[in-house]
């Protein structure tokens, strides 16, 4: 593992546009901590987590669903879209005509945990499946042509950005956030994630170590409570397993966000791969939210697409992803695309 990779950090960029719902406080929890050197800690991995940075930067655009729930913005879909500080014209992937899929039916069936399966086991399975899916898209922009150039390179993407408002940094070994070209960020991300997934101590594959889900009506084993219990413990996953998985999901989300913001048209749209990307990413969002791997505020750079997918029926109403969406914003996008 590279010693560059001692932490994950992200910070808000975005001074260009006027924040639409400007007065709204950050949706982040006030107990949010300053960055910690451990790469697997989730709290420090979240966006805009450094308090010192926060004071210098303009307020965060609000996560509309949270804003709604605390009753500050009662506004229209247009207001919500405004609060996202989106570029004009809008990114092509927000056009409902291009938000379509290669599969019909309910994605939820793919991520629904069988009742008898222990939660940690299921999370491990989902992490690996989504990582394989994501890498399938990454290699399109990552692999070098014969001239030694990859589609995503230091010139095309000098930062690991998700639009003008977000770019993600890594912590160096002195815990300082550093900016890297997206290509290098992805290299570190890949190395770090596969280091975890291939580690038998974190993701055991020995068939003899398996367990089952506790069911108070049926199984007599103790409930999952107390400090010495954790998700996955009975299946042999380590104590920090869940938080490692959350970090992996967060990293994967950032890469997806970069694919959409920087590479959707170039190359995925041109290669006729946008439906494939949409299907894998929407499945990813449904899974990550259902398993509490991603918090609503972490979805921010992709919030308008999530709104759109809630409005166009991609996310079923019973899903967490739907709950996190701003339906008005999604409906407005459908309207703008002439599909409402």
């Amino acid at each position: 593992m590279s010693n560059l990779f001692s932490g994950i950090n992200a910070r808000l960029r975005g001074t260009a546009n006027k924040p639409g719902g400007g007065k709204i406080p950050s949706p982040l929890s006030p107990t949010e901590e300053a960055p910690l050197p451990s790469p697997s800690s989730v709290s420090q991995a979240s966006q805009s987590s450094s308090t010192s940075l926060q004071s210098k930067l303009p307020p965060l655009p609000a996560s509309p669903s949270l804003s709604q729930s605390i009753g500050i913005v009662g506004g229209t879909g247009e207001d919500a879209l405004n609060s996202y500080l989106l570029p004009r014209p809008l990114p092509i992937w927000l056009n409902p005509a291009y938000a379509k899929h290669i599969v019909k039916g309910n994605f939820m069936t793919l991520s629904a945990r069988p009742k008898t399966v222990e939660q940690g086991e299921w999370v491990a399975h989902q992490v690996v499946e989504h990582y394989r899916n994501l890498w399938n898209f990454v290699r399109v922009i990552y692999e070098k042509e014969d001239d030694g150039k990859s589609i995503c390179n230091a010139t095309s993407c000098p930062r690991m950005s998700a639009g003008a408002n977000h770019s993600y940094t890594w912590l160096n070994n002195r815990f300082e956030p550093i900016e890297l070209p997206a290509y290098e960020y992805i290299t570190l991300m890949q190395r770090w994630i596969s280091g975890k997934i291939d580690d038998e101590k974190i993701f055991p594959t020995d068939a003899s170590g398996v367990s089952y889900a506790h069911n108070p009506q049926i199984t007599t084993t103790a409930l999952l409570t107390g400090p010495d219990e954790w998700i996955g413990k009975r299946s042999g996953f380590p104590k920090d397993f869940f938080s490692i998985c959350q970090t992996i999901f967060l990293q994967m989300f950032r890469v997806y966000a970069h694919l959409y913001w920087a590479h959707y048209a170039e190359p995925f749209y041109h290669l006729n791969l946008e439906k494939q990307l949409n299907s894998c990413f929407s499945h990813f969002v449904l899974t990550a939210t259902a398993l509490d791997m991603l918090k609503p505020h972490e979805l921010e750079p992709m919030q308008p697409l999530i709104d759109l997918w809630a409005a166009n029926g991609t996310f079923p109403p019973e899903s967490k992803a739907y709950e996190y969406a701003n339906l008005k914003a999604g409906a407005r996008l459908l309207q703008l695309g002439g599909m409402a």
Binding site: E78, V103, E118, N136, S211, P267, L336
Partner: protein
């Protein structure tokens, strides 16, 4: 007034990219489709298993076992999930012996290092699979095998691949194959022939019921399990590539025959009288002994033996399920007579005999065969229009040769005539291990496998070439096994 709009839709230009991206585009699309196809299928099966379990939980007769049912289900599903996550590669297996060989590679008896279980691992070298247009069919048949749960077909546990080869992990059938049996015994009694052919009928019927034509029914593809009962080796996964099934290969052969060009040019002409000049002296003992000696080598060769192939496979006229019944007819002949009906010194002559079967199929005087057996063979080794089995396997089952056979109890009630005398789970006494080049375990390290992450190393410059990878996407498969332990 609206403040938002979308950019004008750009024209797509997929051709503006280099060869690597063009290749990645195809792979990416296929992998994504494959993910959802496999994922849906797995979710469906998982759902069915959970439903079944829920029903058992409700069953008052099982009320004492509820906790056990629940735990069993949870553990079983978890084992499958771990299996899906596991990094598959040659390095997970320890070679015990090479037990078989085919044109595309070899079959090894292996032990899985993690759990000590024994399997047969078949390796197919990618470069050997020449005709790429067969690939959609390979994928389809992999799917069929994946779905098949027939006890008459060798169980496929998983498939994986590396840069050079595809691998199929199968159940190990310790009884060897029918070819080895025939080499050993040369001839079977009618009773023993009846047993094997009846089981093969069931097996072919099972394959047909899955919607597949086996196309390569021959003694070395008929395997024997622990109890000496028949199972068909992986059907179609490789046979479609075989030159011997490529009619154009024979067309080509016909154009440039080994020695006598004039002869053959004329024999291409249907009206030619030359056809009758083909040697009919099959029962010449010396020739048969030559044939016996070379038959195992023939099985390993690129051409393979066309001995069991129906004539319509060589012509461009098309064929149907009944080609498998022709093959069975020739196997029954071989069991009773000692050599297949169209045996010849070389594949070319065999081919000519097959297409001229009305003149070349004959029963030697010095081998006693019952009239019923001859009748059965003649009703299978004949024109497709008249062939027994054309309207279903029951036509053959009802033939007097099989009078008294209870086809449904064969596998589980009847004792096989030859039960392999095994001393351990890695007993290879039924295999010609001495005749096969034995590789050592260290050979296992000769290939790199993709990790659990399925991404390989970023730094890895040994990216396989598109031709070696693209056609084989979707090959990988993992079966849910009720007996995972």
């Amino acid at each position: 007034m609206t403040s938002f709009d979308f950019p004008p839709t750009p024209n797509r230009c997929p051709d503006a990219y280099g060869p690597i991206t063009t290749y990645n585009r195809l792979r990416c699309s296929q992998v994504a489709h494959g993910f959802f196809l496999d994922g849906k299928q797995r979710a469906k099966e998982r759902f069915e298993r959970q439903n079944e379990m829920a029903q058992r939980l409700e069953d008052p007769n099982l009320s004492e076992r509820r906790e056990q049912i629940w735990k069993h289900s949870g553990r079983l599903e978890a084992k499958y999930l771990r299996f899906l996550r596991t990094k598959e590669g040659l390095s997970n297996y320890q070679t015990i012996k090479t037990i078989g060989k085919g044109f595309f590679g070899e079959v090894r008896l292996v032990r899985k290092i993690q759990d000590g279980k024994v399997y047969a691992l078949k390796r197919l070298v990618k470069t050997q699979m020449i005709s790429k247009d067969q690939l959609p069919r390979v994928r389809a048949e992999r799917d069929a095998l994946a779905e098949s749960d027939s006890e008459w077909v060798v169980k496929l546990y998983t498939t994986f691949q590396d840069n050079t080869s595809l691998y199929m992990l199968m159940e190990f059938l310790p009884g060897g194959d029918l070819m080895t049996m025939l080499i050993k015994y040369q001839i079977f009694s009618e009773d023993i022939t009846r047993f094997y052919s009846a089981e093969i009928i069931n097996a072919i019927e099972a394959v047909h019921n899955l919607g597949f034509i086996h196309r390569d029914i021959k003694p070395d593809n008929i395997l024997l399990d622990r109890g000496g009962h028949v199972k068909l080796a992986d059907f179609g996964l490789s046979t479609g590539f075989r030159k011997s099934h490529d009619s154009s290969y024979y067309q080509e052969l016909l154009q440039k025959p080994p020695a006598q060009p004039d002869n053959v040019l004329r024999s291409q002409n249907r009206n030619s009288v030359n056809i009758d000049e083909i040697s009919l002296t099959v029962s010449n003992r010396a020739q048969i002994n030559d044939w016996r000696r070379s038959r195992r080598l023939m099985a390993y060769s690129a051409v393979g033996t066309p001995d069991y192939i129906a004539p319509e496979l060589f012509t461009k006229q098309g064929y149907s399920f009944d080609i498998d019944w022709w093959s069975l007819g020739t196997i029954i002949y071989e069991c009773l007579v000692g050599w297949p009906p169209f045996a010849a010194e070389n594949p070319y002559d065999t081919y000519r005999k097959i297409v001229n079967w009305p003149h070349t199929l004959f029963f030697p005087d010095d081998v006693p065969l019952s009239p019923i057996a001859i009748h059965l063979i003649r009703s299978m080794v004949c024109n497709s229009e008249q062939r027994l089995g054309r309207n279903g396997a029951s036509e053959i089952k009802n033939h007097p040769f099989f009078a008294g056979v209870d086809f449904s109890s064969l596998r589980n009630i009847i004792r096989a005539p030859f039960v392999p005398p095994l001393v351990s789970d890695v007993d290879t006494s039924c295999f010609p291990v001495d005749e096969l080049p034995q590789t050592t375990t260290t050979d296992n390290n000769d290939s790199s496998s993709t990790g659990a992450t399925g991404t390989g190393r970023v730094e890895d410059d040994q990216t396989p070439t598109p031709e070696m990878t693209l056609p084989f996407i979707g090959y990988t498969f993992k079966r849910f096994e009720k007996t995972f332990v």
